[in-house]
Symmetry: C2
Subunit: 234 residues, 2 copies
Amino acid sequence: MSRSIAIIGGTGPAGTGLALRWARAGETVIIGSRDSARAEQTAEMIRQRVGANAQVSGMENSAACAASDLLVLTVPFEGQAALLKQLKPAIRAGSTLIDATVPLAASVGGRASRTLGVWQGSAAQQTAELVPKGASVVAAFQNVSADVLNGNLDDDVDCDVIVCSDDPNATQMAMELAVKIPRIRAIDGGKLENARIIEQITALLIGLNIRHKGHGGIRITGLPDAAYKSLTAQ
Amino acid sequence: MSRSIAIIGGTGPAGTGLALRWARAGETVIIGSRDSARAEQTAEMIRQRVGANAQVSGMENSAACAASDLLVLTVPFEGQAALLKQLKPAIRAGSTLIDATVPLAASVGGRASRTLGVWQGSAAQQTAELVPKGASVVAAFQNVSADVLNGNLDDDVDCDVIVCSDDPNATQMAMELAVKIPRIRAIDGGKLENARIIEQITALLIGLNIRHKGHGGIRITGLPDAAYKSLTAQ
């Protein structure tokens, strides 16, 4: 099968990091960017790191949306709403959009360890208002350290991905993508509205990283085995 | 030394669970309650579970405040502000108050997997407005499962405690208390304002517990060893 993953804003650290890991797992990845030349540069860098077999290409964001129905949004919050309005005509009916954005106060010149209040409750819920009817939004990957993703590709990623969506199929899709990355476990976090808490956790982790000089992630403990989806136990 | 820990609202599940674990660790614990007879009942139950050596007594809440300068607040959010106003004259100058409360929407008839917005930012920051001048507030223990604390006392507690305060001495004191409980690690989470995120995490964990039938906790990964205080590495 020829599913591809289009990463909107894929030239930033979070998008590039996920692209590296998915390309290494054998997925076909499209890097989307405002600037197709930058997207192609990033795709080339990924090929160099992952190997010649890596299935990676670069495109302008709306071409990337038109080329895939599995989209991952990794843009800074300050550009999120305007970009989604612009991309709306290009997003295919039935698309799944995985939103990894976080409303950090850094978006308006504040601290990355604080968040902004979003009227809808979370960046992901804002996204849900802006995608075309029939597209599904799922929130995931906000807490995974971009530094770790972009680091040594032989190093596992010591983090759980809590996945929130109102569409169970979209949750399932995001969980499957999460566990393509070794040692990541995916947990169904329930409805999209819960993304507001997951987004806050990113600000907490950034604060801990600054304070303790680390690359923080989270693990959820104490749930039954069936709650954790992982590479080894699917 | 004869330090005692007074647990305000100590007859509820969170307070009793912490009391059990600290009594077992050899700490002197005072159970506070509106009703001194209930406090004494809980103290007796703890002695029965922990053993005759357990140093536990029960008192009315304001007597408990007067008897100790290390207070732990484990009351439901709906009663928190009124209780603090009532206790204010009894809280000793120089006291440290560890706030473990969470503004769950259940406080106003909503869901325990959602939170209320608190004007000050968090339940702990509200508390900081209500204690006498010279008392220090530190937020901690919100994410530790009461069910696990009250369970088999031979079972470790698989959870990190993120400690937030504007007073480094108060942070230190809460971290020391946290690591009295086997396998809990304490992490300095920075300023008290960060408690708002830690409090949200409790609502997330409650939602995961309902969805997956577990007793969820959290671990922070990816920080350097020095960031984690534990029984084995202090």
